[in-house]
Amino acid sequence: MKVTLNWIGEFLSAERLEPENIASALTMSGTEVKKVEYMGDKYKDIVIGRVVDFSPHPDSDKLSLCEVDIGSSKLSIVCGAKNFKKEDRVAVALPGAKVKDITIRKNKIRGQISEGMMCSEMELGLSSESEGIMILDNSCEVGDSFSKSVGLDDVVLELEITPNRPDCLSVIGIAREISALIGAELITGEYDFQKRLNIDSKFKIEIDDYNLCPRYSAKLFRNIPNIQSPQWLKNRLILCDVRPIDLIVDLTNYVMLETGQPLHAFDKDMLYSNKIIVRRAGKGENIKTIDDSIRILDDDALVIADEDKAVAIAGIMGGKDTKISENTKNVLLESANFYGPSIMRTSKKIGLRSEASNRFEKKIDPMLTVFAIGKFEDLLEKVANFKTEECIYDNFKKVERERKINLRVGKVGQVLGKDIDAGLISGILTNLKISNRIKDNSIEATVPSFRYEDLEREIDLVEEVARIYGYDRLDSIPTSTRDRRGKYSLYQKTIKDIRQALCDIGLVEVINYSFISAESLKKFKINLEDGYKNNVEILNPINEDFKLLRPMLLPALMKNIKDNINHNIKDIGIFEISKVFKKNSSGKLPFEINMLGVMLTGKAAQKGWDEKERAFDFYDLKGILEFICKRYYPYGSLRIKERQYRFFHPRTSGIVNIEDLDVGIIGKIHPVIIEETETGQDAYYMELDMDKFINNIKETQKYKFVPAFPSIDIDLAIVVDNKIKSEDIVNEIKENGTELLKKIRLFDIYRGEQIEKDKKSMAYSLSFRDDTRTLKDIEIEIIINRILESLGKKFNARIRE
């Protein structure tokens, strides 16, 4: 919200408001000042000029040569506009002035000297478009500063008003805050509505539900003058980001900005009868609003209607048919109070927010309605010398708008950590217009109507005291944490450690959005796989790309490598640890699984000055898997169970099984997907369920003997059919190796000339050891023979010579 300092000054007894001090006081009391704009600086070197004479430019049909009096001298100015005449007052930008960020200079235009520029409203930043230059009122003093003459010599404060302070959504509200902060007196004036308030039988206001409309006040203005708003008023609106339209609309906006009470003006003659009804809309009832769109309403929307149809959506926008036009003679001014939550619902539903609805949403003070009408009347008299003896129609349900709260002085100290004197507390409340008296160790406070909504409890008053007293004056007190000891849980520590470990071996951590498109799941054929079918859908996604919560990390990591390949980074090892989501039964929160995804693509090793180039393959990925597996399962079994997934290469696709528990999947991305996603190079991927992985880790391992006796290591090379799996050979060796066999390591695979086609030689290193004695060669020889015999039987294996 924007307010100007001169406007605020109208309501304060202070002689002068120092912009920086005011801004800082507001910020430090909870009304953050986002920006302080010095308008005088913006219009520096722009003065009021008088057109003395003008003649056509000798070399151009479009330009004129003007003689302009600026008081101290007369200037020659070349001008492109035609909308002025002799004696007109205009805004002249002198050399050095800045107009739309361009510095004006004395120069020659088509051979003619021009000593300044006559500005248009657009050039002065007062409207988004304009025809010709700005013609000012003849009362403007020639030579005076432009900004002073038209009320632009002001300071604009851009404020952030928190949602609990609807009373601050107005100039008067801010003036009231400042008065409490700097101790200046607040002068708002009273509206003597007793005199003018009476019930007129000719006109009726009917309110269906006082819960939705606690108060509806209105006033009729007959034969309203059809004139423009004065420039100063327009300018104030402009400074507050409100576009001037016509006198009546400008006045309603002005009063809203000043008091916080939204007003709406109807063309009285366009209303069907002398009756206004505040009611709920009929289901599907529609109304054409002033922005020319047809709005279809739900039955919980509140409308203002005459006896024929709805004429406004309450608190949000007026109807087109009854809107003020050039021909309007008689105006019905509405100043009503609507129930905030209802306005918020409707405004959300029809997607329409306005300055009015924004104020109503936050629950404004019903006492404001008549006060605002009074302000409107005063203004109309001031700018148009218009007076009326008409009465105000006012329909409301009497409600309690005063609240008594008992504030314990001790409580203030307890919450703030600093004892504040009762007299000081009382003074702060008084300055905030909260009447109070000190009684024993408490303060009995009475909250006024305009703070009724946000000051309900003792703690609310503690906050008021704290923010006016100043947070910076409160002490900083070390917290005693007693017996609390900060630490990571085992789970958290493990996640952190895995993340670090993966980085240490050269992987880069990515973080992707949790969203995914249905399209993407389809592209990866994830939607066809069991366990990935029931996905969590967002009702109001940003767009289709963000429609679902992802059931796996794969598509995001694929996109990451592709994006980076497009940047010519082609050798990539990345990982992500993030939640994936699976649908639960209706009404329940979805399942959330913490997942680790790892993706490799491109080269594992670049060609170096003495290194060979090598592409990533499945075994690089499996190596990473073994690396993290060994870290937490030093003695655990790790197996890849063959299982085909549609997104993986059919021959390189499996389930990761650790200690007989399936914890993830691993494979090579299906070549068709590589092609369809235009990734252009092979990629390998695995995904591990971190919850399963970590929760299955055994507690501390028991100490095992450090072997005291040496082992006997035997290398064994056997020749078998190509199709025989290493895992099966290893299992067979283990089977026959007795408990003396402690370790098996595959160290070579050979295919080629020295052995038959379709066969391979597998070389294993076997390590035998006994913890109680030194082994004899002969024992091992016997075991080896047994192993060879069984391998021969089972796999038709023979020892390689």
Binding site: G340, M344, L416, D460, S476, L589, E592
Partner: protein, 370 residues
């Protein structure tokens, strides 16, 4: 074995023929031996000086203390000597052998040093060649900063709590003093899964969940992803927050100030000023926003701090007593404070990043910078 027998015999012959027989007196025998040893030593010393390399040194070693040398033979056959001569002969011979040995070692060291020097001089490599790559892994900037913040708070006695990213309306809003028609809801544009299930708009629901299952005193921080329906240069539909909660007997606003000042100094530096401004959050009262002084302009005001000299980093406040009624605490007995911050914002302030979307584009050229 054969060899040593032969030398034994030789030794016998030596003593019997040349010395023992001719000089029958003990003194004479010893004198003879001494003379012989002295001659050996003199010869050795003279020859050692002429030695030029390790091979020549080895020859001398064989000659004077090799198996066939006079001294070693003498020592080996000492047992054959008369008892009265034995100790003296042994001692003299040993001393001579030790001297020869140590002289040779000394010489050997000198030669070896020279040899190494010559050898290593030839083994030079190009130190400017690049080393073999070990990969360039990198922890995401967000994780780095989250972990850094976690460790700061762990140091202050906090534990880390977590909660679901998909939440119920109750935990995300209702129990945080934000009922359905509350105006503050419009600040959180929310993604809905169903009428009552949504993507959490902040990490605050974990406060309620944690309080439900724990009794004071409690000190926790809650890191995690949160979601809001907004997408432009300064908004992403997902971002990262860290929430904090401290509840105990007698916790006050002063404790809040101390904790967050300490934190801000740890993460931004001790030289930064910290200020607390009143603000509004539905679930804290009094509430505050916390700023640190702008490091770019030093507090004078610049583009980054939009002229204010301050950078907002945190929202905080005393836990609203209403919340305790949701979790069964007695607000007259315990009190506490809560705070929350956006991690990406902290990163942006620290590293001068100006586009929030960069955090989730996963451009390796971005990630690898940190």
């Amino acid at each position: 074995m054969q060899r040593s027998e032969i030398s034994k015999q030789e030794a016998k012959i030596l003593f019997r023929d040349n010395t023992y027989k001719i000089m029958s007196k003990k003194e004479k025998n010893i004198d003879q031996l001494e003379k012989k040893i002295k001659t050996e030593l003199d010869n050795f010393t003279r020859e050692l000086e002429t030695v030029k390399n390790l091979i020549e040194l080895d020859k001398i070693r064989t000659k004077y203390i090799g198996k066939k040398s006079f001294l070693i033979k003498t020592l080996k056959n000492i047992g054959d000597l008369p008892d009265d001569i034995k100790p003296i002969a042994g001692k003299k011979s040993n001393t001579a052998r030790n001297k020869i040995e140590s002289d040779i070692l000394k010489k050997e060291k000198i030669f070896k040093n020279i040899e190494y020097k010559n050898k290593l001089r030839k083994e030079s490599i190009d130190l400017s060649l690049p080393g073999r790559s070990t990969g360039t892994g990198r922890k995401n900037i967000i994780s780095q900063v989250v972990e850094e913040i976690e460790e700061i708070f762990i140091g202050m006695g906090f534990e880390i709590a977590e909660g679901p990213e998909v939440e119920t309306d109750y935990y995300n809003f209702e129990a945080l003093n934000t009922p359905r028609d509350h105006p503050a809801r419009s600040l959180h544009d929310t993604f809905f899964i169903s009428e009552n299930i949504l993507l959490r708009t902040h990490t605050s629901p974990v406060q309620i969940r944690y309080m439900e299952s724990h009794k004071p005193p409690l000190l926790i921080i809650v890191p995690g992803k949160v979601y809001r329906r907004d997408y432009d240069v300064s908004h992403t539909p997902m971002f990262t927050q860290i929430e904090g909660l401290v509840i105990d007997k007698g916790i006050n606003f002063g404790n809040l100030k101390w904790t967050l000042e300490t934190f801000a100094h740890e993460i931004f530096g001790k030289d930064r000023k910290v200020r607390f401004r009143p603000h509004y959050f539905p679930f804290t009262e009094p509430s505050a926003e916390v700023d640190v002084s702008c490091n770019i302009c030093g507090g004078k005001g610049c583009r980054v701090c939009s002229g204010s000299g301050w950078l907002e980093i945190l929202g905080a406040g005393m836990v609203d007593p209403n919340l305790y009624s949701f979790v069964g605490y007695n607000p007259e007995e315990v009190s506490g404070f809560a705070f929350g911050m956006g991690i990406e914002r902290i990163c942006m302030l620290r590293y001068g990043i100006d586009d929030l979307r960069l955090f989730f584009e996963n451009d390796l050229r971005f990630i690898n910078q940190f």
